[in-house]
């Protein structure tokens, strides 16, 4: 590989060595130094509402059973029998009081504790040979939640999730806390794309510039009320804490009018007003910006949009949450959920779901064209010519580094972090700079032993 220091310094100045999108050595470093340390989204509490409910999710190769125990607590249990290493759970969702290994029959309670093993007395000499007490499936080194979103980290000394997310939590609420009931998730749709995981994360974080080109067709077929995808440039990109995203500029109006404009019904508008802070309300009501796509470093993305869901002018919003789960340098498994406010009216839920299916996910008409681009990019990044090409990701900066558009003052944009109007690759640079920060730091002796 090209010298890592050179790669990272190029990335930090917004000139991206093209090969980082398909490179075995970079991928090995990402596995160890990034996915071995960062908080990784694995699911939502609404997916496991009852004791015994579980879903199985991965952090790269590591399989975890995300399960609600009889005590109501959600845990992430490493899905590997303590004896011979079989997966003790081979389904991806369900309800179980125990997980029994099919190999030799060791069984575990749904809180991870070893419940029993066959012939304990005969084979092991009972407790004297193998004390069962204290034996449990390995828990994820760290687990934390925010608005019901469950994250795990493979690093036991991770900072609290709230600190990791930082000011991005302000924006996360728009997607995941529209009422006191929070969201419920459906899905995920899962599919594998021959594309590097970083591309989707960068795209959702800040790529407003691709919308008028990549997504021309969805505007042409009248899926949106706005006649021109070029409207995108009137919105903002913002970066706050460990994530960033994009917004659309809405027509004049107050908070209620603007929420109504994107299709929220009155009861949901009331819930949002009571749930959100004055600043959260001001971003929409006073400043006129409505959240669109966003990414949390490294590989969680969110999207909010408001298509026409039937043959009328009525639009309706939907929210999707997804992860770009790395499989290989050139392959990503996408897990894409539909998310909706748990207290939303049933009619809203079903129409919002319809909007999601039309726009995003495995069949989504936005996503179809995105992925075509990302697959093409990834396959071209594998060769030797890609090692000679620095992709220009400096949009929004003059030659001397001066930003083209200024950071909005708090009187113009009430949210935390840095927000700017118009096209720019500020967020993609933020995301990849964080990536560089992780990749340049070798594992410490303590981390290796952990």
């Amino acid at each position: 590989m090209t010298d890592l220091d050179t790669v990272l310094s190029d990335v930090r100045r917004g000139m991206i060595p093209a090969h980082i999108y398909n490179d075995e050595e970079i991928f090995r470093l990402e596995r160890e130094r990034l996915f071995g340390r960062a908080w990784i989204f694995v699911g939502h509490e609404s997916e496991v509402p009852q004791p015994g409910d579980y879903v199985v999710r991965r952090v790269l190769e590591d399989s975890f059973i995300i399960v609600r125990g009889e005590d109501g607590q959600v845990r992430a249990l490493f899905n590997m029998c303590l004896h011979r290493g079989m997966q003790v759970c081979r389904a991806e969702m369900g309800n179980a009081s125990h997980f029994r290994c099919p190999y030799h029959g060791w069984s575990y309670r749904n809180d991870g504790r070893l419940a029993g093993l066959p012939f304990h007395a005969d084979a092991y000499g009972g407790e004297a040979g193998f004390p069962r007490k204290g034996q449990a499936l390995l828990p994820a080194p760290a687990l934390d939640t925010c608005n019901g979103l469950i994250f795990v980290s493979l690093a036991p000394d991770s900072p609290p999730l709230a600190d990791y997310l930082g000011d991005f939590r302000f924006y996360l609420d728009y997607y995941t806390r529209q009422s006191a009931g929070g969201i419920e998730l459906r899905g995920p749709q899962r599919w594998r794309i021959k594309a590097n995981w970083k591309i989707g994360a960068e795209n959702f974080a800040g790529d407003m510039y691709h919308t008028p080109q990549t997504h021309t067709s969805v505007v042409e077929i009248g899926l949106f009320r706005e006649p021109k995808a070029a409207k995108r440039k009137d919105g903002t990109t913002y970066w706050a804490g460990n994530g960033g995203g994009t917004t659309y500029k809405l027509p004049p109006g107050d908070l209620e009018e603007r929420l109504r404009y994107v299709g929220y019904p009155e009861p949901m508008i009331e819930s949002m007003k009571s749930c959100w802070s004055a600043e959260q309300r001001d971003v929409i009501g006073r400043d006129g910006f409505m959240i669109s796509a966003a990414s949390v470093f490294p590989n969680l993305s969110l999207v909010h949009n408001w298509p026409k869901v039937g043959d009328s002018d009525r639009v309706l919003p939907f929210v999707s949450i997804r992860t770009w789960q790395p499989v290989a340098p050139d392959e990503t498994e996408v897990l894409s959920w539909f998310a909706v406010d748990a207290q939303a009216p049933e009619e809203f839920k079903s129409l919002s779901y319809k909007g999601y299916l039309m726009c995003f996910g495995s069949t989504g008409m936005f996503e179809q064209d995105d992925v075509e681009n990302w697959v093409s990019l990834t396959s071209t990044a594998a060769g030797s010519m890609a090692r000679r090409l620095l992709l220009n990701s400096r949009m929004g900066l003059l030659g001397d580094g001066t930003p083209v558009s200024p950071v909005l003052a708090s009187a113009e944009f009430a949210g935390p972090g840095e927000a700017r109007v118009g096209y720019g690759e500020y967020n993609q640079r933020h995301l990849l700079s964080r990536w560089a920060d992780y990749l340049e730091r070798p594992l410490s002796g303590k981390e290796v032993r952990a």
Binding site: E92, P188, R190, E220, G310, L357, Q368
Partner: protein, 182 residues
């Protein structure tokens, strides 16, 4: 007006392979496959009813005896005529990049069984479909295997698709998107 398509179920054993109704259903499915291979979607759309339900659930791996193998409340496709119409209209634009250049498609349709329903103007047809999808010259081709249950309705112009449920055989799809129809 026709019976509620969502309520019609198969009645009795599969029709004999020489039965005229089976022959018609089978021919309909084969003709449809050629339209889908050629991406002649506007012709295909004319063969679905205005009240069509086109559903492709998300399959999940569950324990034997769990009682379900589809993700609750989530599908890949859950379409009506409006949303199918938008999808077809998009392919007619000059900017549906994912199929420009187009994939080379082959829908292999087999294992066709036809059943009567309580309504003589409706048939249920089961089939298996294997889609081979090849794009460009670098990527591996994608395969999608699925079982389908269709409800066909007789019209003055021939049979029309009133309901289709697609049970895809993957929990994690190995294709970049579903910019195709099964």
């Amino acid at each position: 007006m026709t019976a509620d398509a969502s309520a019609l179920r198969r009645v009795g054993p599969a029709l004999g392979f020489g039965d005229e109704r089976h022959l018609q259903a089978h021919q309909w499915l084969v003709e449809e496959a050629y339209l889908l291979d050629a991406q002649r979607y506007e012709h295909w759309l004319a063969l679905v009813t205005d009240d069509v339900r086109y559903l492709m659930p998300v399959r999940v791996t569950t324990a034997l005896g769990a009682g379900f193998d589809c993700a609750p409340g989530m599908a890949h496709f859950d379409e009506d005529k409006y949303s199918l119409g938008r999808r077809v209209a998009r392919f007619q634009t000059e900017h549906a990049w994912t199929e420009d250049p187009p994939s080379r498609l082959r829908h292999h349709v087999t294992n066709v069984r036809t059943f009567a329903t309580d309504d003589p103007d409706h048939l249920v047809a089961d089939s298996a479909v294997l889609l081979y999808r090849s794009r460009g010259d670098v990527r591996e081709a994608a395969l999608l295997s699925a079982g389908r249950e269709d409800l066909l309705r007789r019209s003055a112009d021939g049979w029309r698709l009133a309901r289709r449920t697609i049970l895809v055989d993957d929990s994690v799809l190995r294709t970049q998107n579903l910019a195709i129809f099964l």
